[in-house]
Structures are given as C-alpha cells and as structure tokens.
Amino acid sequence: MNTSQIALLGNPNTGKTSLFNALTGSYAYVGNWSGVTVEKKIGEMRNKQGKLIDLPGIYTLSPLSQDESVVTNFLVNESFTEILNIVDASQLKRNLNLTVQLLELGRPITIGLNMMDVARQRGIHIDSNQLSKELKVPVIPIIARTGQGCERLNNCIASEEKEMIDPLRLDYGPILEETIKKMKDLIPECNGIPKRWMAIQYLEGNSEMMKQLESSDSELKIIAKEADRTLKEEKVAKSTQHHIADVRDKFIQNIIDASCEVKIHAKETLTDIVDRIVTNRFLGIPIFLGLMYLMFMLTFNWLGTPLSDGLDAFIGGPLTNWLTAGLEAVGASTFIKDLILKGIVAGVGGVLVFVPQIFILFFFISLLEDSGYMARVAVIMDKIMESIGLNGKAFIPLIIGFGCNVPGVMAARTVEQPKERLLTVMLTPFMSCSARLPVYALFAGAFFAEHQALIVLSMYVLGIVVALALAKFLSSTILKQEKSMFFVELPPYRMPQMRTLWRSTWEKGKGFVRKAGTYIFGGSVLIWLLAYTGPSGINVAMDDSFLAMIGGVIAPLLVPLGFGTWQAAASLLTGFLAKEVVVASMSIIYFVPEAQLQGFMAGQFTPLSAYAFMVFILLYVPCLATVAVIRKETNSKKWMTLSIVYGLVIAYILVFIIYQGGKILGFS
C-alpha cells in the first residue's frame, strides 16, 4: 500500500535527520505548511510503502519559537496515518516527555530508540522489550547514523493498516480531572482528535492549541484559571504546568526504573575535552576565525579554484568545439548558432564553472551544522552579538547565509524573540552568499591574482561589518527592545557521517544548479537577445543594442562609483534575478570565454573600480528569491521594501566613499 503518511517526531539533536536519510531515498518535495511558512520536507520511503514527513525537532508540544509551533498545528490539522517517534536512549527521561504527549493523542505510534551505542557508553542499559511492554507500543532499538536496526524499523512501520490505539490515560488527580471534564463539554469536534488531549494541551499552556480553540477561549480560560488557583490553594503544585509535569515525571520514572539499568561512571567524555579547547577563554574566538580561514582557503584557493579552472577549460574548449561541430553538422542558422554559443553557453557556462567552489562551501557549512560546532559558535559569539542587540544564536542564520541567503533567512526562525528574529532576517542579505562568489572570483582573479583569497575574504568581512553596524542602528532606533535573550542547548559532538554530509550538501547545492537551468538560462537568453537587437534591427553592433540603451540610462548614476559604463549598469540590473547572472551577463556582453574575460576586464576596470564593483555587488539588493522569502518570513511588505532600499542606499554611499577615498589616497 502506498498511502501511509508517517510523521517523524522527536527532540532536537536526536538524529532525526540521520533517520530520515536512512529511511527515505530522496526528498519527494519540499513545500510549505499551510498558513505558516515553515519548510515541509517529505521523503518517499525506500521500500515505497509510504511517505515520511519530517517535522521540526521539539522538546514538548508547547511551542516557544516559530518553527516549533508547526508541530501542534500539523497534529491537529493535517492528515497522517501514523507517528514515528525517535527517542534518544541516552536522554530517555527528557525524550519520553514528548512521547507521553504523543501517546495521549492516541494515534498509531512506533518508537525508534536511537543512540543505543551512546547510551551504552554512558553506562545506560535499556531493555527495549520491557520498554515496549510498559508503553504498549512497538519500540525498535536503532543506531540511525550507521543504519543499524533501520531495516527492522522499516518493516515495523507502514507494514500494515494501523488501527487507532487507545490514548494513554494518566490520572491527573481529582482537581484537574474535574477541570478536563468541564473543558471537554466546551471543546468543539475537530478531526476526530480526542478532546481530552486538547484539554490537557490547553492546560499545559500550548499556545498553538489556544489559537485552535479560540472560539471558546474565554470560557476555557476561566476554567483553566480556576484549576490553577485551586491547585495552588490546596498546595498540590506550584502551577497547573508543574502539576502535569509532576504526574508525567512519576509515570516516566516508573517506566525507566522497570526497563533501564544505569551504571554511571563519571568519565570525562570526548565532548568535554573538545569543548574545553574550542570554548576556551582565550582560544575560542581565534579557533573559530582559524576554522573560517581554513574553510575559505580550501574553497577559493587550495581546492575550489583548480577544479573551477578545469571545468572552465572543458566548457570553453572541448564542449564549445563539439557544440560548434554539431551545430554545423545539422546546418543551424547563424542566429541559432549565436544564440546557443554566444548566449547560452557563454551565460550558463560562465556560472556553472563555479559549481565546484559552491559545493565545497556548502560541504563545510553542512560539516559545521552536523558536528554540533554551530551551537558552540553561538556561545562564543554571544557577547559580541549582545553588544548589537542580538544573541549568539542569531549568528547561525548568518553563517548559513554565506551559503545562500534564502535558508539563512528561514533559519532565523530558531531565534525565539520576535524582534531579534526580524532583525536577523534583515541582516542575512548582507552575508555574502555563494551566488556572489562568481563575481568576486572573476574580478579578484583578474585584478588581484596574488591575493585572491584575501580580497574575497575582505568581502565576507565587510558584509559582516555592515550587517553588525546596521543591527546596532536598528536595535537602538526602530527595533528598540527591552531585552535580548540567549539560550542554547549544547549537544554532544558527533562524528559527521559522509552520507548525511553529502546529502545535505547536495540538498543545498542543487538549488544553485537548478537556478543555472532556469533563471540564468532565461536571463542569458534575454540578455543575449537584448544585446543582439536594437532600434535599427537585428544583429546590430553591441553599442547600438537595446541593452546598451537601457544600461546607458543608469550608467551616469554609477560614474561617481567608478564603473559608469552601460555594460556594468546592464549587468547590475540583471543581477536582481540572481547575483550570479551578473557574470553571465558580462560573459555575453563582452563575449569572451571566462578565461579570457578576466584579461578583457583589465581594459574596462581599474583595480580600484573593480573592488568598488565587488563591494556594490555584495550590498546593493538581495536577489529576487531572498526578497520573496523576506516578504514571507516577516509577513510585511514594509520590511521587504526596506530590505531593498537600505541595501541600495548603503551600497551607494559605501562604494562612493571607497572609490573616491581610494582615488584621493592615490590608488587606481
């Protein structure tokens, strides 16, 4: 049967992604949840027996941040046939808290007991059969990272038609039981979800559930308040939440006592040792900067550039020759030949040569994410981020933004405070994404061959500095906030798995390749056509083309910045589609292969104006896709427009200062 829809749920850092990768072949599609803009990832099970739905990691169903609110919404409003709950065996108590909430829902559920190896190392022995008996649902021990046990898990889920199970029924004591009974009468029927579960979620303070029950909220609130007061008066607990947690804790403790044996030996773990070094008082920041430097050198100098050069030689040499021969053999017209060779090959090829560098960069970002080092970066950077009104966690979306601004903007969801989140969203476009890299690589290669990595690194640093300055400005003016907050969990380090790394590198990088086939392809054809045609007809001299006319209108504005040519203006215009289109445009406009383009540029720019152009590309406007995602994430046209306007203004002013200042200082 092919209709099973399995929801994958679990705490953060429990190996959810590893399990997802082990159980599914590839993402069937990535979409959005209805109403909220959180990425929904769905994968086809390897055994073709159903679809696996990847949900954000949560500790409990009560959301504290935007991405967490998706889960309750999903459980209530979306259709699924069963739940796969991944549980970290080394943190059983905390993980079972979520499990209890899911058991109360009464949907068919299978538990994947992950990290059995880590638990064993820590002296925790779990009898999974006993655990299964206690919870009355199947429990399969697995090691998701190596794939051990996943076969069995696969056979257990989606194997047969599952019937609804009896919801777990804990006795919350006379006061709350009476309250729940009263609430059940008020709660409307909703997709067959147990009213008791909804009532308990409401009492726990699940804000998503409160939203769901808005229609009867005022009456429910009175009942809930009454219960809270009674619990306090009779000294049962400090609050309803505490009371519910106590009841569950007792239940969970009994289960753990019955199914676990713990022989704690307090040994210093590898994580402790690594942490002592990388979060060291003095070494923390230098180590982080050193790692960043290593990452850039590998991407741009040591590894990426030779690969890109090889690919460029192939596209400019053999591939072009084959295509020319092929086109001549089929007797293509000059127009078609020009379109393909001078338009598409020049445009798309000029961008595709950067694929190796971009994949290397994405690989390192994935490595930072998977290993657990990202959370440490948040700790190290918090003090600096605090001084500009943000917290250390906001630094993570910014690093992701180096790869691509779009996931960077979306990653801002993990920042709990709404104002800090908005600020993070607005700063991310200044992070120099991989699409800007082709432009830098082109110019740095032509003008600063000996200091290529250093010049490119200066772009990244400049992007960060501008972002931080803007953050300081916004957080002390428009977004003045009472308080910034910081909380981050530091998961144990894990040795990254090649399979997971490759997969997440590919997931990130394929967008770039896809763009080459869509935006850049379309952009190239359009630019070539505009350059090929003019008021006087077709096949005109480039200087008499429509493109030259359009660029010529803007060019005077750019004269004070050092690159007031119609070619530069036209390239910048196209860069709004996607920043790498700038390179495609230049390849077409100057019609020279990438390798010769660099030499050719030397006649068009001076080193100073080349640097000015690079800075302008870095800052001027976010690309179309980023603008769209800002609009979605902030849910505001105002902020979207602002992101474009301040980008342009800052870019213009800063580049003006750099170019005019540089001239005064005698650079050329």
Partner: protein, 75 residues
C-alpha cells in the same frame, strides 16, 4: 547564593528558578531542569560572556545576567 557565585567547575543544588526570565524558565522546564537538582558550572566565557552549565544531563548555555537569577545552595 546565586549561580554566578560559583566558580568554573563547581557544583551546587538549585533552590529557585522563578526569577529567571519566562522564556528561558519555560525552556528549562521543558528540558526537565527543575528545582532541587544538581547544577554544574562547566565554563564561564571571558568579558562577562555566557555560562555553559550542566543539569539533569543537559548541557546548555545562558547569559551571566540569567545565571544571577538562579538561586542555589552549596553542596
């Protein structure tokens, strides 16, 4: 006594979390970090930076100002 009175590497018992900012208090609660449990200051970052603390098997990081709101008792 408050958590920030502890030196790096010292342990204590938590008496009261109630002064901690609500969002962070709720997160502690979700992670099962409750009163009467042991807490351990693993690291204090320089220049008044954040603390890395461990309690109930959880390793987390919070700011100094938050650590100053956690009441503890020396063991």
């Amino acid at each position: 006594m408050i958590l920030s009175d502890l030196k790096q590497g010292e342990k204590a018992k938590v008496i009261d979390y109630s002064n901690v900012d609500e969002l962070i208090r709720l997160r502690f609660f979700q992670l099962g970090m409750k009163e009467n449990k042991e807490i351990y200051v693993k690291r204090k970052l320089p220049f008044g930076g954040p603390y890395v603390i461990e309690s109930c098997g959880q390793c987390i990081s919070i700011r100094k100002e938050e650590a100053e709101k956690i009441k503890v008792k020396a063991k």
